[in-house]
Amino acid sequence: MFSLAKLAKPALGLLAGFTMMAAATTLAAADETRVVFVTHGQSGDPYWSVVKNGMDDAAKTLGVKAEYLAPETFDMAKMGQMIDAIAASKPDGMVVSIPDAAALSTPVKNAVAAGIPVIVIDSGGSKLTHDLGGLLFMGQDEFQAGVMAGERIKVLGLTKAVCANHEVGNSSLDDRCAGFAKGLGVDVPVMNGVIDPTEMKNRVIAYMTAHADTQFILAVGARGAEPTLAALDELGLAGKVKTGTFDLSPTILQAVVAGKMEWGIDAQQYAMGYIPVAMFDLWKKYKIMPIADYPTGPGFVTKDTAASVIELSKLGKR
């Protein structure tokens, strides 16, 4: 058995060391612009991973200090506390996503009141951003992107569709499904999926067996799209039952090139990471800030354009 007292001394020493190191960095970096991201998406999510890559690249290129924070589960109370804590540390700029206005309005308003400039990315939308005193909104309106996807399918004359959602309860994915149904103009059932690729694939197979008249499958992210492609392959329906997805991955782009998938919808979320860092740097140095919102998506990547972005997707930029 080990004794706690024996451990306590070196631990305290270490702690003191860290504190001094932290203090030293703060002093050295007094002039460096410091931007903090607090979002609802973990950097482990393939979508948010690209946002963080954009942030990291901008920070490196511009010599800006940038940090990325997100609660490890979809926990709005915790995210609100994180915003409060970051606001108290007085960064030069804060970038937030607002997937739940009721839970996050107060922390964001308080941060603005404390003099922190705030840019909202991904979720929240333009109106809410300006109501809360944010500078501008950047991102893809998920519902509107879904509407545009639905309209594209309606033009093809397909009416029997399903929305394969690998993470039901995630509001932006739910918005994508809901927008799709609106754009298509008919009821679209939601197939509840999972993150496990084998179970996801087999659920799509099961769904297609029970609903053989389905003409189009919309996946709402790479984690749903790749198993959907595998399922259609196994059923011998690849290319016959049409499918499309939100977000990109190398596998998705290859499928688009091969004609197995209609399109991938790119939110160009790399820009949501990169541009706010650059904007806050300009804001701190010269008080320059764009005066209008910045929609980054939806960009439809089709057979004509997919091949050219596969390499970029492998690098985590698209």
Binding site: M1, S43, G44, D45, P46, S49, V50, K52, N53, V168, V190, M191, N192, I195, D196, P197, T198, E199, K201, N202, R203, I205, A206, Y207, T209, A210, A222, R223, E226, P227, A230, L235, G236, L237, K240, S249, P250, T251, K314, L315, G316
Partner: protein, 365 residues
């Protein structure tokens, strides 16, 4: 006559009641119940077609591969909550050297099994040395492994999913061991004589039996043999029943437990190898919640949460119930928003039925 003289301490037990007192009996009964339920609600929808059967067996098999060694560990009185994140970690360990460093697949597979086995041994050592509950120790490794996986993957690839394994694995000697199919010839023949349906394009609805199902059966049989026919099996029961008494009798309790932690870690690596080679990609979130699903399967299978009693065959039935319920709901046409409610209820009913049957069997002895 000599044969008529009987020791009065030995009670004669009929073959039937011996069968009824086996831990897997309740699980087998639960399995029958679940199959009957789906035969009634989804009988004509294709759940019990060749494609449908392979569909749920594949899900059951992957969980079952995990559940068999987890059952042994739980019988020995310990938990391993790290198996879920071990799956994600192992997948990345396979994919990154292959995709980014140009290692052949067989080498990165061997490397992965070695590293995961080592971490399993560390888990075991930490449990037996500190005396902390394994629930806490492996809860710590659950988080550490997830963080390590994410940090490594993002640091090396800039993404959280690594794809491109399919192309690299095509001519690898170990590829068909994890992602292949068996009995393809038999399936084609069965399809020709009309016993197995065809797809729209004329090919058989299934092209073979996924090799993961073979792994599942072999692993379950191996664990069953280990548990019931080997000295190591006696050690497992002894360690989980009364560890101190076992130690006094000379059972190497610490060594037994460490070995079992290595086995669960290796099973997680096997799960990952199968999933990475079948899907062609690795993902930092793979295996999320598999630790709980494995424990559920083991408990449905009649193993006690407190240790000392259980079976690997039972875990097989548990995984089978899980797979059938998971997939069966999609064939019933029930609105999938109610999916988890339904699944949870089926689980509880299966376990209740399981323990009811077992109690009846024990009482009748």
């Amino acid at each position: 006559m000599v044969s008529e003289i009987r020791d009065e301490r030995v009670r004669s037990v009929s073959r039937l009641s011996r069968l009824l007192s086996r831990p897997e009996l309740g699980a087998a009964a639960g399995t029958v119940l679940v199959f009957v339920f789906f035969a009634i609600t989804a009988g004509g929808t294709g759940l019990f077609s060749a494609k449908g059967i392979i569909n749920f067996l594949e899900v059951s098999a992957q969980l079952g591969i995990l559940a068999a060694p987890v059952a042994l560990l739980m019988i020995a009185g310990e938990f391993d909550l790290s198996v879920g994140s071990m799956i994600g970690f192992a997948g990345i360990l396979i994919a990154i050297p292959a995709v980014f460093w140009g290692w052949p697949i067989w080498l990165s597979l061997l490397f992965t099994f070695a590293v995961c086995g080592g971490i399993g041994a560390l888990n075991g050592l930490a449990v037996v040395r500190t005396g902390l509950p394994s629930f806490i120790v492996t809860l710590g490794s659950l988080f550490m492994l997830r963080g390590l996986t994410l940090g490594l993957t993002r640091g090396i690839s800039g993404r959280t999913q690594v794809s491109g394994v399919h192309e690299l694995a095509q001519n690898d000697p170990l590829n068909s061991l994890f992602s292949g199919q068996v009995f393809s010839g038999l399936i084609a023949w069965l399809s020709n004589i009309g016993l197995i349906g065809k797809r729209a394009d004329g090919l058989p609805s299934i092209s073979g039996i996924p090799v993961s199902i073979v792994w599942w059966i072999v692993l379950t049989l191996a664990c069953t043999w280990l548990l019931t026919r080997s000295r190591f099996g006696n050690w497992i029961f002894a360690a989980g029943g009364e560890a101190n008494a076992a130690r006094n009798l000379g059972v190497p309790v610490a060594r037994t437990k460490i070995t079992l932690f290595v086995m669960t870690a290796l099973a997680a690596a096997l799960f990952a190898a199968i999933q990475v080679l079948v899907t062609g990609s690795a993902d930092t979130l793979r295996g999320t919640q598999k630790e709980f699903e494995a424990i559920i399967a083991v408990v449905i299978g009649g193993t006690l949460l407190t240790g000392g009693y259980g079976s690997a065959i039972g875990a097989m039935f548990g995984a089978l119930i899980f797979g059938v319920v998971q997939m069966g709901i999609f064939y019933t046409g029930i609105d999938t928003d109610w999916f988890k409610l339904f699944m949870g209820a089926m689980m509880v009913i299966a376990v209740l039925f399981n323990s009811y049957v077992r109690n009846r069997a024990m009482r009748s002895r």
